[in-house]
Amino acid sequence: MSEDGIVSSLKYLFADFLDEEDSTPPSLPEGLPEGVAPIVSEGIHVLMDYQGASYARLYVERLQRFVDKGIAPATLGEMARLMTSRMAYEDAIRIAQLKLFEYRDSEGRMASREDKKFRFDELVDALPEIAADPILTVLDKIGWSHRRVSIPFSTKSRLGIRRLKIEAWLRRWRMFSIRYGEERRWVERWLHMIARSLVKQPAATAAVVDTATMVQGFGDAYRQGLADWHTVIDSLVKPTFDGVLTLADLAGAIAEARAAAMPDPRQASLKRAIAQIRARVTAPGASAAAE
């Protein structure tokens, strides 16, 4: 009996609890334009730390779809950078990881404490669906799902570091979480819009790529950005690609709508700006003027 065989069998048995066996980073996508490779390399490195080799491979596969598809190298580079930041989305596990990296990189000299506010449902969303669903049901019933809780992330004490390590260890189950499913759907929708833009309005591709900067961080800012992004896509971008709305300058319209977006859950100013843009193109004589 070879020891390697027994060890690999045990690793397979406890695969859900152990780190990913394959730690080889994926190769860069083929045919990558000059200047983009360092950005993609950095992305692979970040995602290897964030989740592991298979997740970094997913990043490469997603990018590969756009290589040699007529996308400008600068736009492709920006897309790679933004996709890295969206795929490495900020949840409690990520914040714990970053805190530990900071402590490790300073060789233990930079010990600090940060308190971050999360909603209960946001914390539970990071758990596997099978565990999160019953907890969310209970939280909803007692009306606590939107209640905020302050979580300390500290490297000032051994206990704090130990707790951060336990939180960072939970990344093994991140891929089964509700939040991961939502993030995955978001990234795919963004990529789909970029692909459609390349066909329908190539001049607007950079603006569509750049919309990813609307969705950042965690907590209220993240939720606001996400809601604004969906509003812009559903009201301007998708209707233009579907041929329902005739926007000759989609990039300009996106910029105008984004400028109007405010930190307002009702999105009053954003919706007003979008209504004005739509009214301009649907007004009699607008199409003639555009021609």
């Binding site: 997913l58 596969e61 779809r65 759907r185 795919e188 929708r189 990529l191 789909h192 692909a195």
Partner: protein, 221 residues
């Protein structure tokens, strides 16, 4: 030989049989024989517990007997249904007990073209459309069954919900588990997937022939 001696002998013989079945169970490599031998072990342990008045063992073994019987029944039913499907309408309804339900709202995109495929879907109600080809899928349609076996593993079209409904989904990992646990299922699943692939090829060939004929007619006209 009095009653207590008889009970003692019965209990020793039972323990011996149970141990043999237990060893046999642990040597099984696939799910159906494993469940069968587990059931036999449960029955022997229950029978042994009665004369030796070891009543605590009985409820535990009874619970395990029910569980083992239920799982065996599920497996046998699965093999029977897949086998029936291969010889019949090539339907994949047999997967329904292993699927989880999800509600979809109108306008929701279930997946996008070129996205990595990870699960197959079964349409229970509502209206769903493959965006690129414009084909509307009927209730009872399965989406993504061939993606599991394709090397590229990517969606070839986007799927949009055009009228709210319910879908069932099962991950490729779960189907793979069924495949590995049960060779009979694996064999019929491969037959079924190949048959569906050939059916698709046949439909495409017929469409191509129709189009070629139309082009030829147009040229003559």
């Amino acid at each position: 030989m009095d009653h207590s001696q008889l009970a003692q002998h019965a209990s020793t013989a039972g323990a011996l049989f149970a141990s043999i079945f237990l060893v046999a169970t642990s040597t099984m490599q696939t799910m159906i024989p494993l469940r069968l031998f587990s059931i036999l072990t449960n029955l022997v342990l229950i029978a042994t517990a009665i004369p030796s008045h070891n009543y605590l063992v009985i409820p535990v073994q009874l619970a395990m007997l029910v569980l083992n019987s239920y799982r065996l029944h599920q497996m046998l039913q699965l093999v029977r249904d897949v086998k029936r499907s291969v010889g019949g309408d090539l339907s994949m309804e047999w997967l329904k007990p292993f699927m989880t339900e999800r509600k979809c709202a109108a306008g929701e995109m279930l997946f996008y073209k070129d996205e990595k495929a990870e699960d197959m879907l079964y349409i229970v109600s509502g209206r769903f459309r493959l965006v690129e080809s414009g084909i509307e899928l009927p209730v009872g349609a399965i989406v993504g069954e061939l993606g599991m076996l394709s090397p590229s593993n990517v969606r070839t079209q986007s799927l949009e919900c055009i009228e709210g409904g319910v879908i069932l989904s099962v991950s490729y990992d779960q189907v793979e588990q069924l495949y590995v646990q049960n060779p009979a299922f694996g064999f019929y699943f491969l037959k079924l997937a190949s048959a569906r692939l050939f059916q698709n090829l046949d439909t495409l060939e017929r469409r191509l022939a129709q189009q070629t004929a139309q082009v030829a007619e147009a040229r003559i006209a």
